[in-house]
């Protein structure tokens, strides 16, 4: 295997191929980042919806619970295919990247919604009561009191999801998004050995994921001790 790779290497390590891989790596990163940023906004909306009370908003709460349970319990590939065919059915000409980004957003929204909810629930009950007694609405309480205290608990696991999605988005190759895994298949089809094509792609994934995972661990350690102050 090794001798074969050494023999293939000069043909493989061309400027064109390297740019091809680098662009794909950016697509992978963008897919995960975009999905997680929009997903965390969606997650915030879901979490806040579940914190409301009163019978009037019950249907909305049930919808939020249903959404969360559904997208946490359906595999990435199946959600991806559903999005793909749903966009196709509308007849709109939507780029494949958008289809994959919407998939990541839906799933990230469901998972991050639970993380945000956990963070908000960790804010002491007496903070909510003080705010209520001073006429803060639910959204005002979350904006001025709860989120400024909870973000330290929310950010590390949310970042963890971002790193996880870098790997999960490999499945976007199945609908033809030109991200890292797709490029691995293309290189393999061009005649490079599978060991070299997929080996190179694995190394690129590792080079992206490992430093980010380490950064995430450092982030968690730094934010953990003091839960009080916001600024």
């Amino acid at each position: 295997m090794l001798s074969q790779i050494i023999e293939e290497w000069p043909r493989f390590a061309t400027y064109y191929n390297l740019v091809f891989i680098a662009k794909a790596a950016l697509t992978t990163l963008a897919l995960s980042a975009l999905g997680c940023v929009v997903g965390s906004l969606l997650g915030l909306v879901l979490a806040v919806t579940r914190l409301t009370h009163g019978p009037a908003l019950l249907p909305l709460r049930l919808l939020a619970i249903g959404f969360t349970e559904l997208f946490r319990r359906v595999p990435f590939l199946v959600t991806l295919m559903l999005c793909f065919f749903a966009f196709q059915a509308t007849g709109a000409d939507v780029p494949l990247f958008v289809v994959a980004a919407v998939t990541v957003t839906l799933i990230a929204g469901a998972f991050l919604g639970e993380i945000v909810r956990g963070g908000l629930n960790a804010v002491h009950r007496n903070q909510w009561e003080a705010a209520a007694a001073m006429n803060f609405s639910l959204t005002e309480t979350i904006r001025y009191v709860a989120l400024p205290q909870a973000w330290r608990l929310i950010l590390p696991p949310a970042f963890g999801f971002f790193v996880m999605f870098i790997k999960d988005t490999a499945l976007a190759s199945q609908i033809g998004v030109v991200e890292l895994t797709f490029v691995g298949k293309v290189l393999n089809n061009k005649g490079f050995s599978a060991a070299l094509s997929f080996g190179a792609i694995l190394i690129v994934y590792f080079a992206i994921s490992y430093p980010l995972a380490r950064f995430g661990a450092r982030l968690e350690a730094r934010l953990a001790p003091s839960r009080h102050r916001g600024a």
Binding site: H124, Q127, A130, A132, A133, N135, Y144, Q149, A231
Partner: protein, 245 residues
Amino acid sequence: MHHLDIAGLDAHYGKLPVLSGIDLTVGRGDIIGLIGPSGSGKSTILRVLMGLLPPSGGAVKLDGEPVNYADQAALRRLRDRIAIVFQQYNLFQNMTVLENVTIAPVKIRKRPRAEVEAEARALLAKVGLGDKLTRYPDELSGGQQQRVAIARALALKPEILLLDEVTAALDPELVSEVLDTIRVLAREGMTMLIVSHEMAFIREVASKVVFMADGRVVETGSPAQIFDAPQHQRTRDFVSKILRH
């Protein structure tokens, strides 16, 4: 007309009744001392008045106007006029002392920041914390935090102030600084409902004392009546036990 009129007020935690048929009238400028054993429901009255626990029966009138606690708009109007200070201070941990005092007037009531800040500084100076404006709650002692909480409640310019065992969580040497602050307010004629275990203090400042047990009002009277000549056996037992130590 009474400032606050409570009639037949009931409340439940789940199925458990915690207040039964509470009647209480509060005149303008009255200082009501609520006393009684733990779990007698005295703090619960304040929570129900504030709308933090919905009443299950009875009526509350503010200046003769009935309050509908199920109506959000009515609840907001009520909370514009009544403020509460909690046993555990409940200061916002993510804000400085000054921010704690100014946040509600500025962000919720939309008053001009400069004006609110000037008032907040004056209030904090009045409670003896003029030099702690930029500190965070966890950098202050319990007594200091409680005085910030009082300043925060006063910044809302309430007509009625509810004080829920505000010295119960404090170390003994910090109690007097908080009580001194309340004494000043009492002299200024603010209507107050004070839940406290500090009997000497209640006796000193209260215009009317309410003794409660098991979610009911047992006896109401002037401090002298309740402490020196209680009518009911339960009141006598409680007062003698408290005064003995």
